[in-house]
């Protein structure tokens, strides 16, 4: 889009804003996924968006890998990621909710460990049954959104959908877990994508991969050609599209625009322009749930940052504590100033190592002072960098000024309610203003206000 790219055939991308931070993917991109299982796991029961979960096991009970240990009315269940004994069911820490009910399992292999072997004829199951397996398998959006996947795939009556977008963008710096998954498990990701396309009844599936992950794009293309998908019924036209490396390419609205040219209307879902978006790891999980009847028991995450001794891509059971991962990766250095779950743009800081990996944890970053910014902030100099960077075309500068002036309920016209907290604005601000935070507080003020006036 810049003056200098005129004439070059530009890769597809979204139309507005965005940033390109240092990628730091070189720390882990060439490291194969390594399995690691700790001796105990502690699972906070709330692992997906929606109603609170209820434990369905008690202390000292014996569980087998894959057993349901907590249920959510109308939501998806949580399963024992390892066989063993329930050590405890009590209040404990949760990365996002601060506190939650936590089930602790002491791992102990059972005599008859379930195998989750492939079931013949899975391709021809009725759609309803496929959805049921996805629900019972506890599949949620593994890109971090953790919305129950079966609910997203059960299209409302009359919805006209023609395209499935599979999100392999992984636009957050540092993270390489989706990249490794596409490289190492491309057949499962592709089959999972085909499965989702079948469930929602579309004949067109586009897999979006950013330019900095060319090997993954190539691998996915080869897999699509090699798998012989044309033998499967229904036929789905699958393609891999390489997009520009530009954060937040993996955000739904942005990715839909990059890949289909369609603009999701304000406050709407991709569904309203005929698109369903799923993450590559979710496609993989859907396949395992339907084909192998294997629930979500583990996840791949990237452990990285200059603070951790040996960065890794790990496959760990849900409920593995940060402490065990730290120990497995050789500890972190004394100059680590922030530990994050998720990526550096939208991830959260954690204060304690007893936080557990949940279904939505895509990364664990140990950032040193050299990589992160701890500066205080100054007055807005109206440079417009935040406005230029905002992919939604909002005015975070104005919101922050109104917030400082104590006028939070006058910020709606600057786009507070359309902000999805991607962080491009704060990232770009030379005055280091915490613009996302101002947005969050403004949003919360509106929510409180609207509750009160009801």
């Amino acid at each position: 889009m810049s003056f200098f790219s005129w004439g070059k055939a530009a890769l597809p991308t979204f139309s507005r804003g965005g940033i390109h931070p240092d990628e730091h993917k070189e720390l882990t991109e060439d490291l194969p996924i390594e399995a690691f299982t700790p001796t105990t796991v502690s699972l906070p029961v709330s692992q997906s968006l929606g109603a609170p979960a209820e434990p369905s096991v008690v202390k000292a009970a014996k569980v087998k890998r894959g057993d349901v240990i907590a249920t959510v009315p109308g939501g998806v269940s949580l399963h024992a990621p390892v066989s063993g004994i329930i050590k405890n069911v009590q209040t404990g820490p949760h990365a996002a909710l601060v506190y939650d009910t936590v089930i602790t399992i002491q791992a102990k292999a059972a005599e008859d460990e379930p195998e989750f072997a492939e079931e013949a004829g899975w391709q021809d199951l009725p759609i309803a049954q496929m959805l049921e397996r996805i629900r019972d398998g506890g599949v949620v959006g593994l890109g971090g959104a953790t919305f129950p996947t079966y609910r997203k795939l059960m299209l409302p009556k009359g919805a006209k959908v023609d395209t499935l977008v599979i999100n392999g963008s992984e636009c957050e710096p540092y993270l390489t877990c989706d990249y490794r998954l596409m490289l190492e498990e491309s057949d499962k990701v592709v089959l999972g994508s085909w499965l989702i396309a079948k469930i929602i009844g579309v004949a067109n599936c586009v897999i979006g991969v950013e330019d900095n992950k060319q090997p993954a794009a190539e691998k996915m293309r080869q897999t699509i050609a090699a798998l012989g998908l044309e033998k499967l019924e229904p036929k789905v036209r699958m393609s891999v599209v390489v997009t520009q490396t530009r954060y937040p390419q993996g955000s739904e609205k942005q990715l839909v625009q990059s890949l289909t040219g369609r603009l999701v209307p304000k406050g709407g879902l991709p569904l309203s322009v005929g698109v369903v978006v799923q993450n590559v790891a979710t496609a993989y999980a859907c396949l395992e749930a339907v084909r192998n009847r294997k629930p979500v028991l583990e996840r791949v995450l990237t452990v990285s940052g200059l603070g951790i001794k040996t960065p890794k891509n790990l496959r760990v059971p849900i409920g593995t504590s940060v402490e065990d991962i730290v120990a497995h990766c050789g500890g972190y250095s004394a100059d680590t100033v922030k530990i994050l779950t998720g990526g550096p743009m939208m991830g959260r800081t954690i204060a304690d190592l007893d936080i557990a990996v949940t279904k939505g944890t895509s990364g664990l970053l140990f950032l040193t002072a050299a990589e992160t910014s701890l500066d205080g902030y100054q007055a807005c100099i109206s440079c417009g960098a935040c406005v230029d960077a905002c992919p939604m075309g909002l005015e975070p500068n104005r919101v922050s000024q109104y917030m400082e002036a104590g006028r939070p309920l006058e910020t709606e016209r600057f786009g507070v309610k359309e902000c999805f907290e991607c962080g491009c604005c704060s990232y770009s601000c030379p005055a280091k203003r915490p613009l996302v935070q101002f947005m969050q507080v403004a949003k919360a003020t509106y929510r409180r206000h609207e509750r009160k006036s009801k």
């Binding site: 800081t349 910014s373 939604m392 075309g393």
Partner: protein, 327 residues
């Protein structure tokens, strides 16, 4: 190692930031202004350095005092006070007594920035307010202390009476003819490169463009404002006696690239910036052709500064929706 360390920070995202900081931007702007100052040194002699230092000191002292009085963080090192001081010096005649810029800088900084709450809260461009205040306080020194250039031919004969625009304003066609005759064939070259009488920083369009190119390359300024200022000025150039001199002098280039582009006092969106720039250019032309001043870009920019908040309200960024209209 690896035990829960007491130094872990908690904050909401994003946890990384671009390398840009306010101070870095300001110091880069200062750097980009250096060529023009070195050029002025060559053309007018070392006195210009003394004027620049005096003006910078005035700004820095006032900023420090304002921070002390308001009990806010000391911001004199962020480069913005130095920047205002430099820019103010650039609008002054090189022959002016060197204590005057100190007073001008101090007054401008204190009343334009300090009283409004510091960087980011000022409505007017600090350097231009300084110049306007000095015009009111030291009218004679501000309009007569020109220095004949040590380089080139233009203006050698006219000595230090007045700039070309002022001479033409007073003397009309006769003055223009005299001036062109005195300057000889090289007049356009001398004006473009900057071998003529004029204010310290505005004599050389070339040096200003050099600095501006650096800022463009670093992504600190965009072209919307400067181009539309120049376009606005050019639109009214045909009404002047000498469109060529009109375009090449009177601080237009300095104003377009360095004064009008001041972040704090200019609009944010491209549309707002274009209207802002055109307004400055047209007002400059109106003041010069039909008003009382030979130059005028200073007042034109200040007038448009007043409109900046309104322009930001009228021309909002385009939203990522089909119609792009903000809520």
């Amino acid at each position: 190692m690896s035990e829960s360390s007491p130094t872990l920070h908690l904050s909401s995202g994003p946890h990384i930031a671009s390398g840009r900081s306010t101070a870095q931007i300001m110091w880069m702007v200062n750097l980009s202004l250096v060529p023009a100052l070195l050029w002025a040194w060559a053309v007018f002699g070392p006195v210009v350095l003394a004027i620049a230092v005096s003006s910078i000191l005035g700004c820095v002292v006032a900023e420090a005092a304002a921070c002390k009085i308001a009990k806010t963080a000391m911001t004199v090192f962020d480069g913005s006070a130095v920047c205002s001081g430099l820019l103010l010096a650039y609008t002054l005649p090189p022959g002016m007594p060197i204590w005057m810029p100190f007073i001008g800088g101090m007054l401008a900084m204190f009343f334009t920035k300090g009283m409004f709450g510091g960087l980011g809260y000022n409505i007017f461009n600090v350097a231009l307010v300084g110049r306007a205040m000095m015009m009111a306080t030291f009218p004679v020194e501000m309009t007569t202390r020109w220095v004949a250039p040590h380089l080139g031919a233009a203006g050698v004969d006219t000595i230090s009476a007045a700039t070309a625009l002022a001479q033409i304003k007073l003397g009309g066609e006769a003055a223009l003819a005299k001036l062109l005759a005195a300057a000889g064939d090289g007049v356009w070259f001398d004006y473009f490169v900057g071998m003529r009488a004029g204010s310290i920083g505005e004599v050389s369009a070339v040096m200003i463009l050099l600095g501006a190119a650096f800022l463009l390359w670093k992504g600190i300024i965009k072209l919307y404002i400067p181009i539309s200022v120049l376009a606005g000025v050019a639109l009214l150039a045909p009404f002047s006696l000498s469109p060529g001199l009109y375009m090449l002098s009177g601080g237009i280039w300095l104003g377009a690239f360095f004064m009008a582009t001041d972040y704090v006092t200019s609009p944010i969106t491209p549309k707002g910036q274009i209207i802002f720039g055109l307004g400055i250019g047209l007002l400059t032309g109106i003041i010069r052709n039909w008003g009382g001043y030979p130059e005028g870009i200073c007042y034109a920019i200040m007038l448009m500064n007043i409109l900046t908040p309104a322009l930001n309200d009228w021309f909002r960024p385009k939203r990522l929706t089909a119609d792009g209209v903000p809520s």
